[in-house]
Symmetry: C2
Subunit: 579 residues, 2 copies
């Protein structure tokens, strides 16, 4: 069952491109020629009662009269007339859902009882989140449960973040993408900070990470959490370091722990924790071409050297597990020693840390906490796929979450592209989530356009990987767009594109008039040379004359060739006759 | 031996970004912080005499006082003060070189004597072009000869195009890229047409293809040929079709042959010829999602259906071989039936044609002509590498020259990126040359910025492939740039980038002042959080204290940790102290 928010006025709004928001507001309204739809799905609770959930999707309205539905991360912001109050935040939809009783953390620790998706999955419980995800991605709910139970997939959903639309990260699901954001130096308004999240999710970010620094970390995060329809990740060490005025020597377990609890309470869904930076690994990184490039990793390395002992992230790891499991916050075990250059790829520092992350994965899971593993970085193409093999082998199949990787170091200004190459390859090999890279990587802070380019580029990499993995539904959108292209349905081609606004702009630069959008040719070749047009005529002629098999051709219908010749002028209609 | 054109004034010019040319001129002058250098190399002719050749390179001037040299396709245009006369064209440097006597075409046809790089290589002759290429790419001249003799590499150098700086296309050399260009609808000047070529080669295009249509094809091509330092390719069927007013029914062998001879005489270095579109393959393409997307392919398919016989390209192929061999023009056997969508990838139409191209390769080589094979198109990642296997197997290892391929259809406006993913993968698998795709693909005609983005994107794909193939010198540039990055040599990082101007612009958007270009941090994290800075301090501290091995660390130098703690404030210099 589909409920639509479409109205005539809304349909007009949908035909428009995304405009920047007014001051004090965020970007709202449908994407070009689309409308928000919700599918109602019934979930059966553990007590036999039922809950009705509304699963969002974006329906692209084709000129054929059909809808083409796509996965939609943008929340209510892309409804045609959403009711928003940024200070209150989004409706807390998960508060209405069942939260099953605590279940045993694991076979090793049956005495620990937790309320996490992992523990529930292991106990055979299909949660509302699993039902939601199953319908959202087109899988069976029981399949979702098994993937979570095995640890091959995680559902990043803090109990204290009821606003999110649940999603799943795992190698057997669609590849997801993350967009990073930080606060502005001078924060002018709640809308300005929330807009970054709204803009990134509008174009397809599946999660966002808030990497804010400075004085307003807590407040900025609160704004983002309350208004985000997607899971939010953080790196708690950044805030902990702010609390000690930026001096890692002053960092303590207590300060860090309290920061983690503060963020858990607020509703952060996953946290990057660099617990695998061991003291003995630091010298392995010292002589690298680019040393340690992870901020969290370098902070912990400095702390370890100073203290000359293992970091509190490692020594207090079990306590950390119990804190995160209490809220069902997912570990994103950070790769503090990831390579920052082609020269350092797959070196001993990187691999040593990955093995340690494997040990930590087993500890966390035994205590009922969900885990994903962060990965590189900068890796040349031929060294990429083995990274996934190692990660799956050493970390018991935990979802891999990689930053690119960049396939070369030589193109600052284009690192969304150098990394999209690596991201597509590592995604095809099994990486579950790709952290985006913008054109400003290594050079500066991304602006609004850079964020969009980064997101779209990573949607491309993720989708190419889905195709390459044979994800059952992935090719449907390619086929729909290519069919529209061949049939000269220009508006449908734009609407089915990952970025309709840019496709439309580029087309209109050369052929702006509306008739050109129904023309049976385009500006590249013009009407005389259009291969698609010729090809359609060939198909039509072949069908009419039974020349649709090699056999028919070889039978040699010479008379047919004369007819085709006589009809030949049909191939090259002058431009004025084609609209 | 290196001769430099550097002067103080020139050095100042080199520090500047590329400015658009004045009307009637083309873009000249060095790329940011670079100067043109020439290496003098002595070639020994067949009679024992010698010829001195000047091999161009771009020397990037680092702030360390060292030069870093890179392969340079830009001709004299990037000298600091080149003498140009676009009407006369470039110096005809190859006219001074030896052109050895005709050699037997092959073992099958020893009676045919030709002057082609293939025949000479088979006869054991190292030509001046081979010596030139060997020095340009860092190989032994004898290795170059063997690769050409085997047909695994081609040297696209028409005897009538003496202006070019010879280059090689083959799987065991650096992956090359091609940029397509066409004439403007209203051609205003010679400079405007030549500028497109100058601009594309400035950023790294190894060859260009002139795909002009309309009335001024011959004149436009003449301007480009006389001024191009790189090989020029064409698709002669376009001009032949213009001669019959766009009606393929009127095409004849004679018209086509005369067009080919006209272009050979002018100096075209390689020609796309769609001789593999056989009549019986046409129905294989009729029911595809996107039919026939190659212009040349669709023209020949229409002709075959109309005539109900094989095309003159196929039936007259031997005569075509003898024409091309006379000038040493290289065949680029076109894939008229390449897939135009993910749905059509690796289908029977595509593969049938590829097998026929293999037959034609053997015929051409037996008559002494050089051959490369064009490839797709649109292919999902998991179906890409097998394309190279088939091509090398069926076409006896002839160099593969692919258009992308695009790894998904769903991102018009970003097809430089969808195709860079495919191009990097197919390049790593052995493709010798990649035809660029610009952001305007499928939507409109590329402008100056689009051409640059397309070229840089394909330089990235080609370089990623070189790294992935283990090309001996490829990683040197990555290492040089990463080292500059780690050492906060910002100007060197920009200068070593594929596009210094854009890297500089992006950096300056956030931190424009000159001191920021020597600062030991950047705008992404600021001075407090800079991982590179912390990492350098860790390295320095570890070195000073002998903590450079796991053993030393584990020996537990507790006193060292106290010292590091005392020196700890060195990690976080306030912003004012770092310049």
């Amino acid at each position: 069952m589909t409920t639509s928010t479409a109205t005539t006025k809304a349909a007009q709004a949908r035909a428009k491109k995304s405009a920047p928001p007014q001051e004090g507001e965020v970007t709202t309204g449908p994407i070009y020629r689309s409308r928000k739809v919700y599918h109602e799905v019934t979930h059966t609770n553990t007590d036999g009662s039922t809950t009705t959930m509304r699963i969002p999707a974006r329906a692209i309205e084709l000129t054929t009269g059909e809808d083409f539905e796509v996965y939609d991360t943008s929340g209510i912001y892309t409804e045609s007339d959403p009711t928003l109050d940024l200070k209150v935040g989004l409706p807390k939809l998960r508060d209405e859902w069942e939260k099953p009783a605590a279940a045993p953390a694991s076979e090793e620790h049956p005495e620990i009882k937790v309320q996490t998706q992992l523990a529930w999955a292991r106990a055979g419980i299909v949660t509302p989140e699993m039902t939601y995800i199953a319908h959202r991605e087109g899988f069976d709910p029981e399949f979702v449960r098994r993937e979570v139970a095995s640890g091959r997939a995680v559902i990043t959903a803090n109990h204290n973040h009821p606003e999110i639309e649940p999603m799943i990260i795992g190698r057997n699901f669609a590849v997801k993408i993350n967009a990073n954001m930080g606060n502005s130096a001078v924060t002018s308004s709640i809308a300005e900070e929330v807009e970054k999240m709204v803009w990134a999710t509008r174009w397809g970010a599946d999660t966002i990470m808030d990497l804010s620094t400075g004085n307003d970390i807590h407040e900025t995060r609160e704004w983002i959490l309350r208004n985000s329809p997607v899971p939010v990740g953080t790196v708690p060490i950044y805030q902990a370091l702010e609390k000690v005025n930026g001096d890692p020597a002053e960092l303590t377990w207590e300060i860090y722990r309290d920061t983690v609890i503060e963020q858990c309470e607020q509703g952060v869904d996953y946290m990057t924790i660099h617990a695998g930076v061991l003291l003995r690994y630091v010298p392995l990184a010292a002589e690298r071409v680019t040393g340690i490039v992870s901020r969290g990793g370098s902070i912990m390395a400095a702390w370890c050297l100073k203290e000359h002992r293992e970091s509190f992230l490692y020594t207090q790891f079990e306590e950390l597990c119990d804190i995160l499991a209490k809220y069902d916050v997912t570990f994103s075990l950070g790769d503090g020693l990831r390579p920052g250059s082609i020269a350092d790829a797959n070196d001993e520092a990187q691999l040593s840390e990955l093995k340690t992350l494997g040990e930590l994965t087993r500890i966390a899971r035994s205590r009922g906490a969900q885990v994903m593993i962060e990965g590189p970085g900068h890796i040349p193409m031929h060294k990429i796929p083995v990274n996934v093999e190692w990660e799956e082998d050493w970390c018991d199949g935990a979802p891999f979450y990689t930053l690119g990787p960049l396939a070369t170091d030589i193109a600052p200004g284009y690192d969304h592209i150098t990394s999209a190459i690596g991201a597509a390859i590592i995604g095809q090999a099994g990486t579950a989530m790709l952290c985006y890279v913008t054109p400003k990587e290594h050079l500066g802070l991304p602006n609004r356009d850079d964020v969009k380019v980064g997101v779209i580029t990573y949607k491309i990499a993720a989708h190419a990987a889905d195709l390459g993995k044979g994800h059952p539904k992935a090719q449907e959108r390619d086929d729909a767009l290519s069919k529209a292209r061949f049939e000269f349905r220009w508006h449908d081609q734009f609407a089915l594109a990952l970025d309709p606004d840019t496709a439309l702009d580029y087309h209109d630069e050369t052929l702006p008039a509306e008739p050109a959008k129904t023309a049976h040719f385009c500006s590249m070749c013009g009407p005389k040379f259009c291969s698609m047009k010729i090809s359609q005529d060939v198909r039509e002629y072949a069908r009419e004359n039974g020349l649709t098999s090699v056999e028919a051709i070889e039978a040699g219908m010479a008379e047919k060739s004369r007819e085709f010749s006589e009809a030949g002028d049909r191939l090259y209609l002058p431009i004025t006759q084609t609209n």
